[in-house]
């Protein structure tokens, strides 16, 4: 079953005719993902290596039955593509684009709340259900099918932990990179809820980082509503307050949002917390 994406996922790619969009969409297809359509306004009727291109997402959905939108268009146009996707009939939006203005993301967040559509990202590596589907830019070589779910804000840190799990013979059900911006469609808590309900997931690794209070909220959910074991990791113990650590979200303001507070909240909720990616993989291996 996995979560968000699997064999039944049919992807329509906004920005398929762009360099990045084409490269990753073809990689996703080569992995076995059904990439059924592309969208570039004005290029309808063309195709990219056999993938038909449409002028609008709605048209692509109607003709191909696409149920998932992947957005690769440049930041000035990306939020618009997500709004378009929200009205097109897809169930899931995966927005890879980074650098979208916060105002656009705030409006998008509130708009999506009015509809029954989940969005992963923006500014994220996407979703990978090993052996089933890859929607985004995650490297598939380091992953293996299995029963551990993983949710994280960060790209390379996710890869590091997936890699260490795979090296120890531990496969993954789904790896979800939710993105580093303050306004994202799905937060840790939303992903945890889906893992809890997924019969193919036995255990979850949750990777957080400094800034905001989403990890603390996720900890409450783990304590109150999760039966599956959660192994946590938080990056940014050495990060100074008030500095933006690369991700727009990764900033400590005042005493809130520290790595220490997040790790303690997770431990208090019953999660085991590793001090570094290697320790996380070791804890999972020992369970």
């Amino acid at each position: 079953m996995a979560i968000y994406v699997d064999e039944t996922t049919k992807v329509v790619v906004s920005g398929l005719t762009g360099r990045e969009g084409q490269f990753h969409a073809l990689r996703n297809r080569a992995y076995g993902t059904q990439v059924v359509a592309g969208v570039t306004p004005g290029k309808g009727g063309q195709d990219v290596e056999g993938i038909p291109v449409f002028d609008t997402i709605a048209e692509a959905v109607e003709v191909t039955g696409a149920n998932t939108s992947m957005v690769f268009v440049p930041a000035p146009f990306a939020a618009d593509a997500c709004f378009e996707a929200a009205d097109s009939g897809v169930e899931l939006i995966v927005c890879i684009t980074e650098g979208i203005p916060a105002r656009d993301e705030a409006e998008l967040y509130q708009y999506l709340r009015l509809r029954d559509i989940a969005m992963i990202g923006p500014n994220c590596p996407g979703v990978l259900s090993p052996g089933k589907a890859n929607v985004g830019i995650m490297p598939t070589e380091i992953a293996a099918p299995g029963r551990v779910g993983l949710v994280s804000r960060s790209g390379t840190l996710t890869y590091q932990i997936v890699h260490e799990l795979t090296q120890r013979g531990i496969g993954q059900s789904t790896c979800v990179g939710i993105g580093g911006d303050p306004f994202i469609g799905q937060f840790h808590i939303d992903v945890l809820r889906r893992f809890e309900a997924d019969p193919e997931t036995d255990m979850v690794v949750m990777v957080g980082e400094i800034g905001g209070d989403e990890e603390e909220r996720a900890a409450e959910f783990i304590r109150d509503s999760m039966t599956k074991a959660v192994v946590g990791y938080v990056a940014g113990f050495e990060a100074p307050p008030g500095k933006k650590m690369g991700h727009a979200g990764a900033i400590i303001s005042g005493s809130k949002g520290t790595a220490q507070a997040k790790a303690e909240a997770l431990e208090a909720a019953g999660a085991k917390v590793g001090r570094n990616p290697t320790e996380v993989a070791e804890i999972v291996a020992g369970m």
């Binding site: 203005p101 890699h163 303050p182 990056a235 990060a239 690369g246 990764a250």
Partner: protein
């Protein structure tokens, strides 16, 4: 981008928020001319991106041209918490009858905007919040709805704005919100927002932070107001080269790909008994040029005694990263020892390339923890 007071005020004035007459000045002579044009008394205000300038002596009132010039000479070049004053704002001295507080910001926890108003302005809002949280009105604003009249009224009433000023304050709040949205601001804060003796509401200070991601919508503003304010020389160099670099206090220089992994790298260095000298994220698909630029900035920090390059090859393949490192080392002279941890996609090939290009002081470790330990050990040995 954090704007200086006078830059923020210019933007607020452009949307109709009343601000005092003023002019920027960079020399005592310019301040004198500006003061004469504005009329006395005038306030001479240091333009720095740090709070507490009033207490530090960075704001002075002048009654005549000679005083204006003398105050300007005293304030220019002043060091306020590490920020050297290079510019002044000369403005008509305010006649203050009452001081309020008003701001709009992004509330990331509630996923919407937040308006805040208080009748207790002119002091740090954190102090007010600590002493009497009820004195600050907080009203969430859904970005799809905007600041409706009832929300602006709620801010003014709950913020305890006196009845005689309420109507004008509400009108100013609408304008501040419009500015917040139209400018793609992350913060618009006016403290104090004053009522003068004629009952007019005037923004006496302005703290405006613009969203860097929205630069493409405000090219002119960013062009006019862009200045590199970094206090630290390495941060300044990094900003000029467009690198994502933050100076820290330790002795192990750090270079990695991806914000999360780099934060994690700082942590494992600390766990190995060392301290990171910096945060530097080279991002995805790091080219040899970018790695060379980055190494230059990291190695140029006199505190750095060893360098830890931590790369996880995802889409970026290990052998490309290794080639980048080798090419970078040909270009930049580095005196500190370097530990490279290369993992992930095609890491084997990458490590072979590094092994095939041996040079003194270049070490390769297969795992993040071993590499961190090695980098700390080398830093200790050099210390």
């Amino acid at each position: 981008m954090d704007l200086l007071e006078y830059q923020g005020k210019q933007l607020l004035r452009s949307v109709g928020v009343p601000t005092p007459e003023g002019e920027a000045a960079a020399t005592p002579e310019e301040a004198r001319v500006a003061a004469e044009r504005i009329g006395f008394p005038v306030a001479i205000k240091a333009q720095v991106q740090v709070g507490g300038r009033g207490k530090a002596g960075g704001i002075k009132v002048a009654a005549n041209a000679d005083e204006a010039e003398a105050h300007a000479a005293a304030i220019l070049g002043m060091d306020i918490k590490g920020h050297v004053v290079r510019r002044l704002w000369v403005e008509e001295a305010a006649d203050i009858a009452a001081e309020f507080y008003a701001s709009f910001t992004i509330d990331r926890s509630a996923k919407r905007y937040l308006g805040m108003v208080s009748a207790e302005g002119g002091v740090e809002i954190e102090e007010v919040a600590a002493r009497d949280p009820e004195a600050i009105a907080k009203v969430g604003v859904n970005p799809l709805v905007g600041l409706k009249d009832n929300a602006a009224r709620a801010l003014a009433f709950r913020g305890r704005i006196p009845a005689e000023h309420r109507k004008q304050v509400i009108a100013v709040l609408q304008k501040l919100y419009a500015a917040f949205v139209e400018l793609d601001a992350e913060l618009v804060e006016v403290n104090p927002l004053i009522a003068n003796s004629r009952g007019e509401i005037v923004a006496l200070d302005a703290k405006v932070t613009l969203d860097d991601n929205a630069e493409y919508r405000h090219k002119q503003v960013f062009e006019d107001f862009h200045e590199v304010f970094a206090v630290d020389p390495q941060e300044k160099l990094a900003k000029e080269k467009n690198l994502n670099y933050i100076k820290l206090q330790g002795e192990v220089g750090i270079l990695g790909n991806g914000a999360g992994l780099v934060m994690s790298t700082l942590d494992v260095v600390a766990q190995a008994g060392g301290k990171a000298a910096n945060f530097l994220d080279v991002g995805g698909g790091a080219s040899a040029d970018l790695i060379a630029d980055s190494l230059e900035v990291v190695a140029g920090d006199p505190q750095v005694r060893s360098i830890f390059i931590n790369i996880f090859g995802g889409i970026t393949r290990g052998e490309e990263v290794a080639k980048g490192i080798v090419a970078a080392l040909d270009r930049v002279e580095i005196s500190q020892p370097i530990v490279v941890r290369l993992d992930g996609t095609n890491a084997e090939e990458g490590r072979e390339i590094l092994a095939g290009n041996p040079r003194e002081g270049l070490h390769s470790s297969p795992t993040m923890l071993e590499a961190a330990a090695k980098a700390v050990e080398l830093a200790d040995a050099a210390g």
